[in-house]
């Protein structure tokens, strides 16, 4: 199992230019297991992010915490460009929409965030030039990581679930495992699940084939904008559950409401550092008030990916918001209790 996980790091590193790749491959198996991100920034040291913090890479594969230490491996502009071409499989045109949105979905379900200068046309981003940094996120499949959540929620997971947590807290990994378990019938009869995978992170489709295990009865709408995808799923795929990642815009909230009224439950994730931040987000309030989510699961953070800090009934949180707004700006007064 650990060997497989380390192999995922090696597969991700294969997308990096040769000069840097060899140093990354020289990392120890333990480090490969724990690595969350590989970050290249033009003219700056190559960084590898672990749950405990960021380390910088030396040419021999040693990592140091000190970013100004001697002998650090620096990514040049041409290294970044070469890496970008490799990540695009030398086919920039076939990733046009992704690049416009600042990322690339790669074979194996990995995602690379792209940073550079925006190319604008009529006020809209049409591309990115002068790429200055690349953040390669190492996708992890952790079968069973949603066990605790599914056990605590039981059948009520089908009443709608919103998973909230900060970046790198494991939201997508948990979503993926929920999909796998529900669509494979591991917990009760298999459910018809549709993933609206706008950024290709959940199923990680590459040339139409999901790179991650998303179960037996799961359809993937790959690259669809979430709002359109949810409506399309409800109209044509008769799902019992619709799953999407990082939800929050007004149109998405409206699409969620429509799917609820069409008889499909929604399981989604949303960014929020903690419960009080979550309650302060207008998008979160709108989603909760839509009635599409019976429960909210809050994750702990990047130091403990996949760990649940609390599960809350949406009704309780909405009531808390109402109480909070009537008294002061602080929406969380400590009266909210987790259900388990």
């Amino acid at each position: 199992m650990n060997q497989m996980k380390a192999a995922r790091f090696d597969t991700a590193a294969a997308g990096i230019c040769k000069k840097i790749r060899s140093s990354l491959l020289a990392l120890s198996p333990e480090q490969k297991l724990q690595a969350q991100e590989i970050r290249l920034r033009a003219g700056r040291p190559v960084a590898v992010c672990f749950p405990h913090g960021t380390c910088f890479l030396r040419e021999n594969g040693e990592t140091v915490l000190d970013g100004i230490a001697d002998g650090l491996l620096r990514a040049s502009k041409s290294d970044i460009e070469e890496t970008f071409q490799i990540l695009c499989e030398n086919s920039v045109y076939s990733h046009e929409n992704e690049i416009r949105n600042g990322y690339l979905t790669l074979r194996g379900g990995y995602r690379a965030g792209i940073c550079g200068t925006a190319v604008l046309q009529n006020g809209e981003i049409t591309g990115i030039r002068d790429i200055s940094s690349i953040c390669l996120r190492i996708a992890r499949e952790l079968p069973g990581c949603a066990d605790e959540l599914l056990e605590r929620l039981g059948d009520s997971v089908c009443g709608g679930l919103l998973i909230a947590g900060p970046p790198s807290s494991g939201k997508t990994t948990i979503l993926r495992d929920i999909v796998r378990q529900l669509s494979s019938g591991i917990r009760g009869p298999a459910k018809k699940v549709v993933i609206v995978d706008e950024r290709g992170e959940i199923a990680g489709c590459c040339h139409g084939i999901p790179q991650n295990d998303v179960g037996l009865c799961c359809d993937v709408l790959d690259g669809y904008p979430k709002a359109e995808g949810i409506l399309m799923a409800v109209r044509s795929l008769s799902p019992q559950i619709v799953v999407c990642d990082e939800i929050g815009s007004e149109t998405e909230t409206r699409a969620v409401e429509l799917s609820l009224n069409a008889g499909a439950a929604v399981i989604a994730s949303i960014h929020a550092g903690n419960l009080s931040e979550f309650l302060r987000r207008d998008q979160a309030t709108a989603l909760m008030k839509s009635g599409a989510f019976q429960h909210i699961a809050m994750l702990r953070g990047c130091a403990e990916p996949g760990k649940i800090s609390g599960i809350y009934r949406t009704g309780d949180l909405v009531a808390e918001i109402c109480r909070g707004t009537s008294s002061d700006n602080c929406r969380l007064s400590g009266r909210v209790c987790g259900i388990a």
């Binding site: 071409q85 030398n90 086919s91 920039v92 045109y93 076939s94 046009e96």
Partner: protein, 145 residues
């Protein structure tokens, strides 16, 4: 032999022109990645098989140039054609759809001119080479008799 070389060059340039047209359509309508395009439309151009899969992590421009030098040289392309192929490889896959369409259109035009020139050369010189062959053969026969 020389006559065959001239015909072969025409044949190869025709294949390459056909590839450019098919690849342009693939890019415009299906955004098929480079590796897929090469695999699907490689008929008649052997050096494409020498190019590693796009997922191998190799430098693309180097891989393309290596394949041109190792394979295309022996396929009947002239030195000028090889330069054209190298130039094409430098831009293939490196830009967005619009950029690729423009790149392909440019190389379609360049390949068409090369093809026209190759056809003229073949028509002009192949007759000459054939006649030379016939005369040479006849002369040899007379001498032997």
């Amino acid at each position: 032999m020389e006559s065959h070389k001239l015909s072969l060059r025409v044949e190869k340039l025709e294949s390459f022109l056909h590839f450019l047209s098919a690849a342009k359509s693939e890019i415009r309508f299906s955004a098929l990645p480079v590796a897929g395009i090469l695999q699907k439309h490689s008929e008649g151009i052997e050096f494409f098989w020498l190019i590693p899969d796009g997922t191998s992590g190799d430098d693309w421009a180097k891989s393309w140039n290596g394949a041109v030098l190792a394979g295309a040289v022996h396929e009947g392309f002239s030195q000028k054609d090889l330069e054209l192929l190298t130039g094409f490889g430098e831009g293939f896959g490196t830009s967005d759809t619009e950029g690729q369409i423009a790149h392909f259109s440019l190389y379609e035009n360049l390949t068409s001119s090369a093809l026209r020139e190759a056809r003229e050369e073949r028509n002009r010189k192949s007759k000459l080479y054939r006649m030379l062959g016939i005369f040479g053969g006849t002369a040899a026969a007379i001498l032997l008799c």
